[in-house]
């Protein structure tokens, strides 16, 4: 059904966009880092929604479980563990305005120089209806001809990262 010329997909898209970008703004502008962490989670939800719209449900689920469930919580913990001065200082560094200009220019450049000219003409109908399923993803990740190697390496990476994180963040013996 079309509401005011917008299909349900468009509305969903608009909704998730607001979530994503709104959450992002929240992350940028928050004064309270705990709230910033929450805004981050909001943004991540928006992304998950986008994934669903893009016919990648598995990834949406992974996004929610890993990103939000693990990383988001990790951030929250980190914020709480490093809390002593979070509210007292300024939010932004002294270079915030030059960064603003640069980033603004970056956005403008990306939009006008890259995205619209290159992919602006691709209509949604061209996307096709047949998509690979989650099964295919699973197969791809363990197929010897496809992505089993990166898969294994990724698990190794995770192990290393965990160990590294533990080692780095470990409390050293008091002298």
């Amino acid at each position: 059904m079309v509401v005011g010329g917008l299909t349900p997909q468009a509305i969903a898209f608009g909704f998730f966009t607001i979530l994503t970008l709104g959450g992002a703004f929240g992350v940028v502008l928050n004064k309270n880092l705990v709230r910033g962490a929450v805004w981050l989670i909001v943004s991540l939800f928006g992304i998950a929604g986008m994934f669903v719209l893009l016919s990648a449900p598995f990834l949406a689920a992974v996004q929610v479980m890993v990103y939000i469930g693990a990383i988001g919580i990790l951030f929250t913990f980190a914020v709480m563990l490093t809390r002593s001065m979070t509210n007292m200082r300024q939010r932004f560094t002294t270079q915030w305005w030059s960064a603003l200009i640069v980033v603004g220019l970056l956005f403008v450049f990306l939009m006008s120089g890259v995205i619209v000219p290159v992919w602006g003409g691709i209509s949604p109908e061209q996307a096709g209806d047949v998509v690979a399923t989650t099964t295919d993803l699973g197969v791809a990740l363990v197929d010897g001809n496809q992505f089993v190697l990166p898969f294994e390496v990724a698990s190794l990476l995770l192990t290393a990262a965990i160990i590294g994180a533990i080692v780095i963040a470990r409390q050293h013996e008091e002298e």
Binding site: L74, L158, A165
Partner: protein, 102 residues
């Protein structure tokens, strides 16, 4: 269906916001948050392209999954570093880590 470029626009905007966060927030944890935003923008980009350009080839999703994995690992290690930094000098302000300054 929403056209591809709109997804890309959102991703771009997200990326820029993440960049801005990285470049201009004092708090180190906020900087890492900005990094997560950027990585998510990248993921969004990847999936959008996968859906529109080659929906049958699982490379797109697999890649996205791997980016996600790396992001997780990186977030863990980064936060561990921040915690370690906080423990040694009681500050998480990025500006305070300037021992390589002139």
């Amino acid at each position: 269906m929403v056209p591809l470029w709109m997804y890309l626009a959102v991703a771009a905007a997200l990326f820029c916001l993440g960049t801005y966060t990285v470049l201009s927030r004092r708090n180190a944890v906020a900087v890492l948050m900005g990094i997560e935003l950027m990585l998510n923008a990248v993921n969004l980009n990847l999936v959008a392209f996968w859906r529109f350009q080659s929906p049958l080839n699982m490379a797109g999703q697999a890649f996205t999954a791997f980016v996600l994995v790396v992001a997780a690992a990186e977030a863990a290690v980064g936060l561990a570093i921040i915690i370690s930094m906080y423990r040694s000098r009681r500050s998480v302000t990025v500006d305070d880590v300037d021992m390589l300054r002139w």
